[in-house]
């Protein structure tokens, strides 16, 4: 989400390491302080066209693109 660019110096796409989404978030937090907390405060992850809620332990392969999105709600 664009709000997260406040933590990345304006970068919309950044690289991070981890075997799970949670590990990726931890790596993002280490490199961009505050970003991990912001992601855990409210976001879902779009991976391969599917939106995952609470994706902390979801396994990801190398070179996976993760789209951090608002936690999508509905009516």
């Amino acid at each position: 989400m664009s709000q997260h660019r406040a933590f990345t110096g304006g970068e919309a796409v950044v690289r991070a390491n981890g075997a799970t989404v949670g590990q990726v978030i931890n790596d993002l937090e280490a490199n961009y302080p505050g970003l991990g907390s912001a992601l855990r405060a409210g976001s879902s992850a779009g991976i391969g066209g599917e939106i995952h809620a609470e994706p902390e332990y979801l396994k990801v392969a190398s070179d996976t693109e993760i789209y951090f999105l608002a936690p999508v709600v509905g009516g």
Binding site: G34, E50, G75
Partner: protein, 745 residues
């Protein structure tokens, strides 16, 4: 009708059995929340703020407490103070004000008494002293530089910590070079739009009965998700979830408005203090003044295109007014821009706080506002280029792999199929009747998955109970039964679908995001598949063969060369369950999951209408809705959702709006003055179901409950433009507004 039949040859899915809950509802046996009465039950009444924003200086309940029949009074002081960072802090404050009221209608105290009349009289005797604060009543006022705060507890979310703000979210989505693309475009159209607050308009008011007598709050209520009622109520009361049990009543409409709570903690606290069960039922006026409308919005959309109809860029500014408590309306609105390829995109969106009722979800929340503006501008582009509006959209329609505004590629979607189905429809292929003009528009909604559980118990006689935690808000009982029947291979009427309370079935998320048939249905299918494994094992025992020699075919165990029973015929499910005790005991299975892969849904609507140029009144003479359902489990229910969404969108387009006075009091808080469409206002809403199966569901289901409300406003606005030459830019397009525009021509 169904446009593109699913090629799979299902026995039950796609059929239209009589709904399992139908008889009870037709004869009046179904029990809604207000129908329940418990021994010794009291009645409650709530005191509501007459001011849009004020400090509460004092509350004097002494006179009320001395009145006949009064058993208990509660105020904000009776509830624990949650940390402002708690996820349900806003919900708690919205249920009962704590020292400050944030909108006209905000609950400030409550009374319970022997009769409703006594409770009302006592509520009227509670004296509250207020100190008025500046009230923010519009998005423009909220976003003005130096504006007073609508709620000093609000901070902008997802950004580094800052000062309190009237903005709950600020979102910028972008790709490509929008400025260059606009400069290069052959056609550029830019227009501004606004939308008033509208209500979900469910017929059944919020209601609950709570008995806190045994140290646990036993709640009976109407909601879209009783597990969420449990967790929210527990948080507001400051107790563990296990201290709240919620039993779902039938629900008389929700549409997103019953995904949150208003009454349950108040009734629980009144019950705790009085020692008696307490019933609370909102009046219609309370529903409109104090339960969630959809946000208002201000929008500005600019689209660039080439002469051959390629949409090259979109530049949007959207602000949503959500009441005095933050949510993510603006962010979701930005994310809902997903119908067209748009190689260059810039969306700037805001969620702005106002001192109006706290907004709640309403079918595809935030998407209708965005689609109203974007589809109106796209229609102007088609008009300027002299292109058929469907052809323009087909040329730019998003397909699998195209990026949504949020940057993520679409999975498999069916927009092209929906557009083609509309183009081929009898409606679109025929001319409008004399005096009528035509408009069409597209709508998109994500849909979501989330957590669901299901338990399936097979009975000795071969029938099955399918137990889930998803309230039946739109046909889920019948849909669950159909998926179970298809999977097990038994008659749909031999299945009893049950919606169980929070202590009788596994956790199930609230029904929102059109998720029940997708996610809970997936759990039902998984439980049935588990049972098939068990049935095959039992059959193997009976037949005297290895389990891998047994297949499950059309509701029976088959083992070529062996057979079962004395006749050697396949063993039916009923024959196996009849011998359950001899073969290992009851047959039951449970599945729980956190479902990903909810397939997005697109819809295309078309309206023919007439405008009375003397009065400004619009008459819709023909209306068709096309929607991708993935697979229509029960087509009648799918059509009902499409028709319901269309009708609510038509009301939003033509009549519905919150009208506030200068102090923020709603002036039309009744169904007499808040005009929703009734049957005599409408033609039959024709439906065409498109089926592009969702690969992430065993039967291809996409949610269908929400998308239908997204296209109607632009569909009607585009038809009014065709009829009059006037582009309406303010919702609702009510007769006075249309007449004013006509007179300005």
């Amino acid at each position: 009708m169904t446009a593109t039949e699913n090629p799979t040859n299902y026995k039950w899915i796609g059929t239209r059995p009589i709904r399992h809950d139908g008889f009870d509802k037709v004869v009046g046996k179904a029990r809604f929340a207000a129908d329940l009465n418990l021994p010794g039950q009291l009645h409650g009444s709530i005191v509501r703020s007459p001011h849009a924003h004020a400090k509460v200086v004092s509350i004097d309940t002494s006179a009320a407490e001395a009145m006949p029949g009064v058993k208990a009074v509660v105020t904000g002081d009776d509830f624990p103070a949650l940390d402002p960072t708690h996820p349900n802090f806003d919900t708690a404050v919205n249920c009962m004000a704590r020292g400050e009221v944030f909108y006209n209608g905000h609950a400030i105290a409550a009374v319970t008494a022997t009769t409703r009349e006594e409770a009302k009289a006592a509520a009227a005797a509670i004296e509250v002293e207020y100190e008025l604060l500046p009230a923010i009543l519009s998005i423009a006022d909220s976003m003005a530089e130096g504006a007073p705060l609508a709620n000093s507890n609000n901070y902008t979310r997802f950004v580094p910590p800052g000062d309190p703000s009237n903005l709950a979210t600020v979102t910028n989505l972008d790709r490509g070079d929008v400025d260059q693309a606009m400069a290069d475009a052959d056609v550029v159209v830019e227009m501004g739009f606004d939308c008033a607050h509208v209500h979900q308009g469910y017929i059944e008011p919020h209601a609950c009965v709570v008995d806190s007598g045994d140290g646990k709050a036993n709640v009976w209520c109407s909601s879209q998700g009783h597990f969420r009622v449990r967790s929210m109520t527990a948080d507001v009361l400051g107790v563990e979830n296990s201290k709240v049990k919620v039993t779902p009543a039938e629900i008389g409409g929700g549409f997103g408005g019953k995904t949150t709570i208003y009454l349950e903690p108040i009734a629980a606290k009144l019950s705790e203090k009085s020692g008696r069960p307490v019933k609370l039922v909102m009046s219609r006026e309370e529903v409109l003044r104090a339960s969630g409308p959809a946000p208002s919005a201000e929008l500005r959309i600019k689209v660039g295109a080439t002469n051959d109809g390629e949409l090259t860029a979109i530049d949007g500014w959207m602000a949503y007014g959500v009441g005095a408590f933050g949510d993510m309306a603006g962010l979701i609105g930005a994310m809902s821009v997903a119908s067209y390829k748009f190689p260059n995109l810039r969306m700037e969106t805001y969620t702005a706080l106002t001192n109006t009722p706290k907004s709640a979800a309403y079918r595809a929340p935030s998407a209708p506002h965005a689609a109203w503006a974007i589809e109106s501008v796209v229609d102007e582009i088609a008009s300027e280029l002299g292109m058929d509006p469907i052809d323009l959209r087909l040329k730019n329609a998003a397909v699998e792999g195209d990026l949504t505004a949020m940057g993520m590629p679409h999975p498999k979607v069916g927009l092209v199929e929906c557009l083609e189905a509309m183009k081929a429809s009898g409606h679109y292929q025929s001319e409008p009747v004399e005096g009528a003009s035509r408009g069409m528009a597209v709508g998109f909604w994500f849909n979501i998955g989330e957590e669901s559980s299901a338990t399936v118990n097979l009975n000795e006689d071969g029938t099955a109970n399918v137990i889930t935690g998803s309230p039946d808000i739109g046909g889920s009982r019948a849909s669950m039964a159909l998926m179970a029947a298809e999977t097990l291979g038994i008659d749909v009427y031999s299945i009893t679908p049950i919606v169980a309370d929070t202590e009788s079935v596994g956790f199930t998320d609230v029904t929102e995001g059109s998720r029940a048939t997708f996610a809970t249905g997936k759990a039902v299918v998984e439980a049935c598949e588990d049972l098939i494994g068990q049935l095959k094992a039992r059959a193997a025992t009976i037949m005297g063969v290895e389990v891998d020699e047994v297949a499950w075919v059309d509701g029976a165990a088959v083992s070529p060369g062996h057979g079962g029973g004395e006749s050697g015929e396949p063993l039916t499910l009923a024959q196996i369950t009849a011998q359950a005790k001899r073969t290992g005991g009851p047959l039951t299975a449970t599945a729980s999951l956190n479902a990903a892969g909810a397939g997005p849904s697109f819809a295309v609507h078309c309206a023919d209408l007439k405008v009375d140029e003397e009065t400004g009144e619009t008459e819709i003479v023909r209306y068709t809705a096309v929607q991708d359902a993935g697979t229509a489990i029960h087509p009648s229910y799918v059509e009902g959702q499409m028709q319901g969404g269309s009708v609510q969108g038509i009301g939003w387009a033509l009549n519905e709006e919150y009208i506030y006075d200068a102090n923020g009091a709603m002036e039309n808080a009744s169904f007499l003055d808040y005009r929703i469409p009734v049957a005599s206002d409408l033609p039959l809403i024709e439906t065409i179901i498109v089926e592009v199966p969702n690969p992430a569901h065993p039967y291809g289901v996409r949610g269908v409950g929400e998308t239908g409300i997204v296209p109607p406003m632009a569909t009607i606005g585009n038809a009014i433009k065709a009829a009059t030459g006037v582009r309406m830019t303010s919702l609702p397009m009510s007769p006075p507004k249309v007449l004013k525009k006509l007179n300005e021509r």
